[in-house]
């Protein structure tokens, strides 16, 4: 089943042509890794999928982008973002307690029952492998947590609104190897129920967790294939060069 269908997508930020004729299909329940050097358009691509790019006043797009066979611009933006969650590059807890961070989205979607909310918070924190570390201090400000814990809190916060897709924007760029391993473990488990798009600067991470891998360069999709194929016998010389660390 196809979750996202992207056809001939071009986007601009003012004069900058950030994505050039991109065609991608994201399958349900896969982890699609997106790699590429900085400024290659991979984050811009990711932020298309929950329409976060719309926040920039000089943003323009052409082409088509469908989510569950429906034009993404025709879906009510709040319900789109509820269904397509996002975890950001830096751990970005809201200035609230641990509990309130996780329950924030749920409350915004109108759930008021306290027991229900507590249940959702506990379940989400467990899914993000954070419950055991924080269950005794849920009312503490989220800024007291370590970087790795904060990032898992952000994952729990995203999971709490029960999305169908989770977009990860370089989720481990600020984390140590052990925290990274924990986040990756969570991702692999989540694949069963969610569709995941993972933008990463870490080529090895893409190889470890991605079912398929897309390689972006200067706003173009150079190659998209099964991860083993990309990492063993890529079709394009530029892909080969990038994953071998020749540039980027």
């Amino acid at each position: 089943m196809v979750k996202f269908s992207v056809k001939d997508l071009n986007i601009w930020f003012g004069q900058i042509h950030a994505l050039k004729s991109v065609n991608i299909e994201v399958e349900a329940n896969e982890i699609l890794s997106v790699i590429g050097p900085s400024n290659s358009g991979k984050t811009s691509f990711l932020r298309m999928l929950n329409r976060l790019n719309d926040l920039y006043p000089n943003f323009k797009m052409s082409g088509s982008l469908e989510f569950d066979n429906k034009d993404i611009r025709k879906i009510d933006i709040e319900s789109l973002r509820k269904r397509v969650g996002m975890v950001f590059a830096l751990p970005l807890p809201l200035p609230l307690s641990i509990f309130e961070n996780v329950s924030y989205g749920v409350k915004m979607h109108g759930i008021k029952n306290r027991n229900k909310i507590s249940e959702i918070v506990e379940r989400s924190l467990k899914q993000a492998y954070l419950w055991d570390e924080v269950k005794d201090r849920l009312s503490v400000t989220a800024f007291k947590l370590s970087g790795g814990q904060q990032q898992r809190l952000c994952i729990a916060r995203t999971l709490a609104v029960e999305p169908e897709v989770i977009l990860f924007d370089e989720p481990c760029s600020g984390l140590d190897p052990i925290s990274t391993a924990k986040v990756e473990e969570a991702m692999l488990k989540l694949k069963k129920d969610y569709t995941i798009v993972l933008v990463t600067n870490n080529v090895k991470q893409a190889a470890r967790v991605g079912d398929r891998t897309a390689f972006f360069l200067s706003g173009e999709l150079v190659e998209l294939d099964k991860t083993e194929k990309i990492f063993t016998a890529p079709n394009d010389q530029r892909t080969d060069g990038y994953i071998r660390g020749k540039f980027g």
Partner: protein, 282 residues
């Protein structure tokens, strides 16, 4: 000749001197007012109406009048100013018209207060027929402090990190929910700073109330917002220039009460702000 150590010492000395030049006059003003005004302060001075052509008795009606005016101005200016600030920082597109509006608001805070007084006279007293009343005076003062409140509130709202908004929106919260639950709570300390500044200005200005509310001599308390009232700054002006042979300590006592009143109101706002800052978690 080139001696970085010495240049640094000279620079520090000049910076220190500049600070001193500011602190000394302010300190002197406060010291002189306290020294000359304190002997006048007693219970009768604070609680009695003016007597003997304002040469004796107390200044109670003026204290109450100023309190009413400041509270009225804040009630009027804070909600409107805050809503305007939210619109300008969160909703208004960055185009030429909105930039002109922003610039105009910043410049409005530099308009001389007597101009606001005339405006208040024309609009509230004459055109809307509120007469010279607490209502007219409060509205005039409110309009005068609106630019301060809008500008500082806007800055406070804009200083809330963009990333918080993105997180909230990415969870499917609407724009208004994001403003209401994430942006506003984190901007409150800054908004209160603007309110403090506005409050002090509203309490101290003479010109805007001159034509719109202030009574020369009214030895009773106002009964409704359509009454005239005495006010401390204007009373101070009257007893300093219009009434002969007023004892110096009465004048300085009035100034001291005005100073203390402004400080006291600022203190309340500062305490509220401090409590909000303590809760700020980043």
């Amino acid at each position: 000749m080139h001696n970085p150590q010495r240049s640094q010492k000279i620079a520090f000395f000049l910076l220190f001197l500049a600070t001193l030049l500011i602190v000394i006059p302010v300190g002197l003003i406060v010291v002189i007012i306290i020294q000359k005004g304190l002997p006048a302060i007693n219970w009768q001075f604070l609680s009695d109406i003016p007597r003997q052509g304002m040469r004796a008795g107390g200044i109670f009606p003026a204290i109450i009048g100023t309190l009413y005016l400041v509270i009225g101005a804040i009630i009027f200016a804070l909600p409107i100013g805050l809503l305007a600030a939210i619109y300008l920082s969160e909703y208004a597109k960055d185009n030429i018209i909105n930039r002109i509006i922003r610039l105009a608001i910043v410049n409005l805070s530099g308009v001389p207060s007597v101009v606001y007084g005339l405006f208040g006279l024309a609009l509230f007293v004459v055109f809307l027929k509120f007469g010279a009343s607490i209502l007219s005076g409060s509205l005039t003062l409110g309009i005068m402090i609106l630019p301060i409140i809008i500008t500082t509130s806007r800055e406070a709202l804009e200083s809330v990190p963009q990333s918080f908004r993105e997180v909230s929106l990415s969870l499917g919260a609407s724009k208004w929910q994001t403003i209401r639950h994430i942006v506003l709570p984190n901007a409150i300390p800054g908004i209160l700073t603007g309110t403090i500044l506005g409050l002090g200005r509203a309490a101290g200005e003479t010109a805007p109330i001159l034509f719109t509310v202030a009574a020369f001599y009214l030895p009773r308390l106002p009964k409704s917002i359509f009454d005239q009232a005495m006010a401390l700054p204007y009373h101070l002006y009257v007893i300093s220039t219009q009434v002969p042979n007023v004892d110096e300590k009465v004048r300085y006592g009035t100034a001291l009460v005005l100073l203390f009143l402004v400080l006291f109101m600022n203190l309340i706002a500062i305490i509220i702000r401090y409590n909000f800052r303590k809760k700020k978690k980043w």
